[in-house]
């Protein structure tokens, strides 16, 4: 009997053991003071995907929380080791599926760093433009979802109207609305036409006003402020120690933005501010992202004005896929196409890491190459993963309804956190 008991004890999942501390066995006089464990997710509309949180509740207050990840784990790092560098591009769309263009850019910059090639100037500008459009698109969803989590449905509908316009731009630009797969090594899938440029101009002309409308709904809204002000606050030191990244880190007053800290593409030629805010609570994170969208519009305006004419593909015949019409007519290009498709671009032996400031934070790719057409090891450093790490300390001691608002303000995307 005794051995049986021991066995069940060891079989008890480690998660439960982690949650159970000595206090659980204490007998309370008042039955209502007992703590209970609640399982939130992975199928919960407010957890923004398939995040599962085990919360130990004392009444309605969170005594402890353990986030569980992995419900969307598709093993992209393993897949990457068996893909050529070009073949992995479509997989990057499915990481942070709210800003696929940003992931395309981040990945291709890492590969180009490994190869030691640089895209032409026009391509760099287009990559800046698509990155910033993706940032607006991602932040729009975050804004709508945060407001909806708190109970304001209107903002969600209004920001989705804006996202719809962005998707129309993506469709014109890349041929796909959602899974764009737009970048190529040393270039892009296709050039940005004047028509697309005009559509983007149209979008950014009207967007600040629309954003202002959303702000007017929220900035002085008592319910919204009560639900966010001081909720989920984190100190500056703790945020750094926990490795928080992106807007969440800037919401504790740290001016860290990779677009400024280690400029890539043409960000050093563009004039923009890095919004920071003190407090580290949900409201601070709200203001940082709202102001970031305004800066995006500034960047887009400058990029559209400065974008030069010229080629979009680097002149690296053995690395860059040749144009279709030339493959069918020229022998050299046919050979290069055959070699790149069948054996991949063959980078030198080495290890590189390149990170961009994505909408969620630092999105980096660490590539180990052994000189073959496919990476030996590809590690995706996802910002949502690092931001979720701070979720447990943030929700501890808060009410259960605050969990939803705090997750909403952290803006995690499970496709990226789970890889």
């Amino acid at each position: 009997m005794n051995t049986l008991l021991q066995e069940t004890e060891t079989q008890k999942s480690k998660i439960l053991l982690a949650l159970e501390d000595k206090d659980t066995n204490v007998q309370f006089d008042d039955a209502l003071e007992n703590e209970m464990v609640l399982n939130m997710g992975p199928q919960h509309p407010a957890t923004h995907g398939v995040l599962r949180i085990l919360v130990k509740l004392d009444g309605e207050t969170v005594a402890a929380a353990v986030p569980e990840l992995g419900y969307l784990h598709r093993g992209y790092e393993k897949l990457a080791e068996n893909c050529s560098y070009h073949e992995f591009i479509p997989h990057t769309d499915r990481l942070d599926y709210l800003s696929p263009l940003m992931n395309n850019t981040a990945y291709i910059l890492a590969v180009e760093k490994l190869l030691g090639i640089e895209a032409p100037r026009r391509t760099k500008f287009i990559r800046v433009i698509i990155s910033e459009l993706a940032r607006i698109s991602s932040h729009c969803l975050w804004l709508g979802a945060l407001a909806m989590d708190i109970g304001a449905l209107t903002v969600f509908l209004w920001t989705f109207r804006e996202r719809e316009k962005l998707y129309d731009i993506f469709e014109k630009l890349t041929g796909a609305r959602f899974t764009t797969s737009y970048t190529r090594i040393g270039g892009l899938e296709q050039d940005m036409t004047d028509d697309v440029k005009a559509t983007i101009q149209q979008f950014i002309d009207q967007f600040p006003e629309k954003l202002d409308e959303c702000e007017r709904l929220l900035n002085r809204n008592k319910i919204f402020i009560d639900r966010t002000d001081g909720v989920g606050a984190i100190s500056r030191d703790k945020a750094v120690a926990l490795g928080m990244t992106g807007p969440n880190l800037r919401a504790v007053g740290i001016e860290h933005d990779l677009r400024r800290a280690s400029p890539y593409l043409v960000y050093d030629e563009l004039d923009f501010d890095i919004p920071t805010f003190n407090g580290g609570d949900s409201l601070a994170r709200y203001y940082v992202r709202i102001n970031e969208m305004k800066q995006c519009v500034r960047i887009l305006q400058q990029a559209l004005e400065k974008i030069p004419a010229g080629p979009i593909h680097a002149f690296e015949t053995k690395k860059v896929l040749p144009r279709k019409e030339r493959i069918y007519t020229k022998m050299e290009e046919l050979i290069h196409d055959f070699m790149i498709i069948n054996f991949g671009v063959e980078p030198p032996v080495g290890e590189v890491y390149h990170a961009v400031e994505a909408s969620k934070g630092e999105l980096g790719f660490y590539i180990q190459s052994r000189g073959e057409g496919h990476p030996w090891r590809l590690k995706i450093h996802s910002p949502s993963f690092m931001n979720l790490q701070s979720l447990a300390p943030l929700i501890q001691g808060r009410m259960i309804s605050d969990i939803v608002a705090i997750i909403g303000s952290l803006d995690p995307v499970m496709g990226e956190a789970d890889k």
Partner: protein, 164 residues
Amino acid sequence: MTENVVELVKKNFPDSVLAVKEFRGQTTLHIKKEDIVEVCTFLRDDEQCKFDYIVDVLGADAYTPENRFEVIYNIYSLPFKQRLFLKTFTDESDLHVPSVTSVWQGAQWPERETYDMFGIIFDGNKDLRRMYMPEEFDYYPLRKDFPLMGVPDSLPLPRTLREK
């Protein structure tokens, strides 16, 4: 700037630094695994380094008889805006690596992920559970000897009544 940091580490830990690698402008220090915590603490606290921010901890399987597994630390200095990579090696026979969670709290989840994917055990990590895979899973999927298609019946998947 990075040269300065490398010199400092070399001067303070002459026996710990095994090699210094440079590629495409990024510096990787190979550190003896026993000394990784001391080196990390120094890098975090020294006035000229101040690597206060952990970006990532990642594993890699070199698939060699010796020093099969690599653990790479991607650290960043917010005040000086510079990045440094540290690398340690461990063998298949001895999968233990000291945890750096005492230096940077944020290394907690990345170390769990590395444990999940490669089976590297971080001594000192207080909550070393699997990150993505289920607890019952017996394999380490990112090792090179793990097949891409997976191992049949290694995951307890729900079955329909008819299958039973």
